[in-house]
Amino acid sequence: MGIVLDQSEIERSLKRIAHEIIERNHGLDSVILLGIPTRGVTMAHRIGALLGLIEKAVPVGTLDITMFRDDLRLRPPRALLPTQIPAGGLEGRDLVLVDDVLFSGRTIRAALDAIGELGRPNSVQLAVLIDRGHRKLPIRADYVGKNIPTNLRENVKVQLLEIDGNDRVEVSL
């Protein structure tokens, strides 16, 4: 299938998501972004920068969900990735989780469990760049860059400038 999003399309998607976040939450007073490593963190920082340009800066943090996964025993132990919870915590905030691809929903379930240990946000919302379908849990995204119907054998690869040197989303077999 090749490239499904190029650099300008990714930029446009993130801008739209930023606007939608402001709209949905009636401003940004209570909003906090938490990116899921690795590329969700980059996205969260980009959305955070856009929110700063459009309206005002919001806290941006990182949440590694490895220790909350339900499939740990299927693979060798994974290295843990950074976690950085913004000072002030999550209590009463409108929390937007940010990840690159939404697939089975298991990562998000793990993230919800982790958030449950951290406190009680007023709401938890989900922003993803790509929703590729095939959910195995009752989870949906509130903000989606692009819906891409895929089959299970296909591979969705998100590349971001800060990590991969260029911005694009590819689907391959």
Binding site: R73, R75, P77, A79, L80, I85, L118
Partner: protein, 319 residues
């Protein structure tokens, strides 16, 4: 870590050591972020198999296992069937029959953990929590973790750091594990002790040796005071406690000789007034309580890396 046991620091490569320390650091961030309990080992059983007295190591492993949601069974030889003559083999097999998947063993015999791991008596992961006068790997890992937090410019490489280990080297498994680990990370180690408390063949170790604390103290970035192990001192290793404290204790005015940036470490339990004065133990440069807190993190990392992932196919060898 590649293997299914943690028996000796000698089995770990530099990268494996850094893997444990990095994992512990991320666990610290998760904990600092407010997550106190992780579901990672839910439903798994860990046994503390302690044939020798311990407070902090046993409690530290217990806290680590609980924070990862594992079940922990505490076994101590005192008041158990060991006093009726039950062997290590039968004890371990009994505990495994109760569902244990990982055994943390402390024993007064050097090599006890290795024996348990290699004998085929049990399938469990084995973690050495101190075997006789041989090794205490998790102590060395937590010491390295504590040093790393204080010397950020040496995050992945300890070369240029000079670490003094002072006191009863002869009986100390902490010293043995630390020498192996610190030299693996590139630090320069100097052992400071009276000749009677140094093991024979010390010249084979990759360390410097000194009998004089006062001539070394100004050069150290970290000073690790070892406990004078009264229970292993059946012979007269030094003339009197007062003389030992005067020559080898971090006591009195000697504290002022330390570099401003140097840190004071002690694996505990301390004999205040003997190898370390109360003033040294409680001063700004002391990291002794940090070592205790870091111990829980490092042990969580070890438990996670050994048993958090997919089971290693049978026949998995030592690390």
């Amino acid at each position: 870590m590649r293997g299914s046991h943690l028996l000796s620091i000698a089995d770990l490569s530099r990268l494996e050591v850094l893997e444990v320390l990095d994992t512990a650091r991320e666990l610290a961030r998760i904990t600092d972020g407010g997550i106190r309990k992780l579901p990672t080992l839910r439903g798994r059983t860990v046994v503390n198999l302690f044939f020798e007295d311990s407070t902090r190591t046993r409690l530290s492993f217990e806290a680590a296992a609980k924070r990862l949601s594992a079940e922990i069974i505490n076994f101590s030889a005192k008041g158990s069937s060991v006093s009726k003559g039950e062997s290590l083999k039968d004890t371990a097999q009994t505990l495994e029959a109760m569902g244990a998947e990982l055994m943390i063993i402390r024993h007064s015999a050097s090599g006890a953990a290795l024996r348990l791991a290699e004998s085929g008596w049990v399938k469990s992961h084995i973690v050495n929590a101190g075997d006789g006068m041989h090794e205490h790997p998790t102590q060395a890992l937590l010491d390295a973790y504590s040093m790393r937090e204080h010397f950020p410019e040496h995050d992945r490489d300890f070369s240029g750091l000079r670490v003094g280990i002072v006191g009863d080297i002869l009986h100390s498994r902490v010293a043995r594990s630390n020498v192996l680990l610190l030299t693996t990370l590139g630090a320069q180690v100097v052992l400071i002790a009276p000749p009677t408390l140094l093991p024979i063949a010390i010249d084979q170790w990759p360390v410097e040796v000194s009998y004089n604390l006062d001539s070394e103290i100004r050069s150290l970035d970290a000073i690790m005071m070892l406990r004078v192990q009264a229970e292993r001192m059946k012979d007269a290793f030094f003339p009197s406690e007062r003389e030992y404290a005067r020559d080898y204790g971090l006591v009195g005015a000697r504290l002022k000789e330390l570099k401003e940036s140097a840190i004071i470490m002690h694996p505990g339990p301390m004999n205040r007034g003997l190898e370390i004065s109360a003033q040294s133990a409680d001063c700004r440069q002391s990291v002794i309580l940090e070592q205790v807190a870091n111990g829980v993190l490092v042990r969580m990392a070890v438990l996670y890396l050994l048993m958090g992932g997919a089971p290693i196919p049978t026949g998995g060898m030592l690390i």
